[in-house]
């Protein structure tokens, strides 16, 4: 199963995104971003396991704008 590190614009969207992914059955949690990588977003990332496309769609359909998504095998 793939793991995805998702940058969003604010802690509000990070929590919102985590909660809605959990409601849809994905394993998801919030983590402090340790690699600043351009200092985009809020300093937090959503870490989620599952199908990348489905996770992206779930977030985007609920108005959670994804700034960056990195997938780890």
């Amino acid at each position: 199963m793939q793991r995805h590190i998702i940058s969003v614009s604010s802690i509000t969207y990070a929590i919102k995104g985590r909660d809605l992914l959990r409601k849809q059955g994905f394993r998801a949690y919030i983590e402090r971003k340790t690699n600043s990588n351009g200092n985009t977003g809020c300093g937090y990332v959503i870490v989620a396991d599952g199908n990348r496309q489905k996770i992206s769609d779930a977030l985007m359909n609920s108005g959670v704008k994804i700034l960056q998504i990195n997938s780890i095998a």
Binding site: S10, K16, I30, G38, C42, Y44, G63
Partner: protein, 373 residues
């Protein structure tokens, strides 16, 4: 002191609200959404939960629509200055607070004042419709007058706005927590709330719920997001929340909403019964009332004067007798112009759910004595 100045701020706070503030000061004193350590995350989670509950309670469509501000006046400024531009027209009511009048004057925005009928909501609606122009961008009005208690026909105005593609903003300083407000049902785009009034929270916290667009900010600064950029973020709520938010007050909002929900069936009824009691008890005396709270469509705010005295003299007399009531214009001169009290102002009686009929009897007794003062 028997406190009847709850339209200014609720004087008695529920124990659960006090407990929530105390808990936050003891256990959550970290900057939410900033520092990243576990305590900061805990504080951020609390703020998020309050956004969620607030959004649900007022019928909004998401946590991100809920913005915490310093007060209701700030919320109103964020809407008017964040949405309106030169060339736009706005319709307001003749009961508006200076929180609306002064920003519009400062911005030099073209506005038309619609007359609110104190007895006929259909007439009020017609007046709002007549006041619109082809370039009307927004209707902004109070949910309930802070001088007369008159509740405006919010849903009807909202439906008209929706039909015409006009944005609808509501000053709910006196309405939130007292009268039913559901943004979705009432087609409200912007809801401005004083958390320290009907939600029983501490002062220093306003709420703006923005379902409609906000084009620009009036305060910029650190938001804990996208820090490398000098450009203010353009997504709510952080766009409008530069600087540290008032966490202890925010943390108490859930308790305030829970209190209101628990007592929803009796708050308005009980408070209106108290205004009716004062009105009915003082009939036949030298007290002048400007509205009749026995009629439907009123929030628990009752203005009065006593023949031969200025409003300040009356409130001063009552203060010396142990009663807290506000006198003067209540920052709403247009409402006083409407009822002919621009010069002398009024004394405002605004009870809360914590007041009792016995306290109203004591107040009425003192008001009757005023002629001997």
């Amino acid at each position: 002191m028997i406190y009847f100045d709850n339209a200014a701020t609720t004087g008695h706070k529920p124990q659960s609200v006090l407990g929530a503030v105390n808990y936050a000061l003891k256990n959550l004193c970290a900057n939410p959404g900033r520092s990243g350590h576990s305590l900061s995350q805990k504080a951020a989670m609390t703020v998020f939960e309050v956004r969620q509950k607030t959004s649900d309670f007022f019928g909004s469509n998401g946590v991100e629509t809920v913005v915490f501000t310093p007060n209701c006046t700030a919320s109103i400024n964020y809407v008017l200055k964040g949405v309106l531009s030169a060339g736009d027209h706005i319709v307001i009511s003749d009961l508006e607070h200076n929180a609306v009048m002064r920003p519009l004057k400062t911005m030099n925005i073209d506005f038309t004042i619609a007359n609110v009928s104190l007895t006929d909501d259909e007439e009020t609606l017609r007046n709002f419709k007549k006041a619109t122009k082809p370039n009307t961008k927004m209707i902004f009005c109070t949910a309930a007058s802070n001088v007369l208690g008159k509740i405006l026909p919010i849903k009807k105005i909202g439906e008209f706005c929706k039909q015409k593609g006009i944005l609808f903003g509501l000053d709910a300083a006196q309405g939130a927590g007292v009268i039913p407000i559901n943004m979705k049902d009432m087609k409200v785009d912007y809801l401005c709330i004083a958390a320290h009034k009907g939600l029983y929270c501490p002062m220093g916290l306003g709420i703006l719920i923005a379902r409609g667009p906000i084009k620009r900010t009036i305060i910029e600064g650190g938001t804990g997001t996208d820090s490398v950029q000098f450009i203010q973020p353009d997504t709510l709520p952080e766009m409008l929340e530069s600087g540290t938010v008032n966490l202890p007050a925010i943390a108490s909002v859930n308790a305030g909403i829970d209190f209101v929900r628990k007592h929803w069936n009796c708050i308005l009824k009980h408070e209106n019964n108290l205004t009716k009691k004062l009105y009915n008890t003082l009939q036949g005396s030298n007290v002048i009332f400007y509205t009749n709270p026995n009629n439907d469509g009123y929030a628990p705010v009752l203005s009065f004067n006593v023949e031969g005295f200025s409003s300040e003299e009356i409130a001063d007399f009552l203060s010396k007798k142990g009663f807290a009531l506000r006198s003067g214009l209540h920052c709403a001169p247009t409402a006083h112009k409407k009822i002919g009290t621009l010069k002398q102002g009024t004394v405002r009686f605004s009870p809360s759910v914590f007041n009792t009929p016995y306290e109203v009897d004591l107040l009425a007794q003192q008001i009757k004595k005023l002629k001997k003062y």
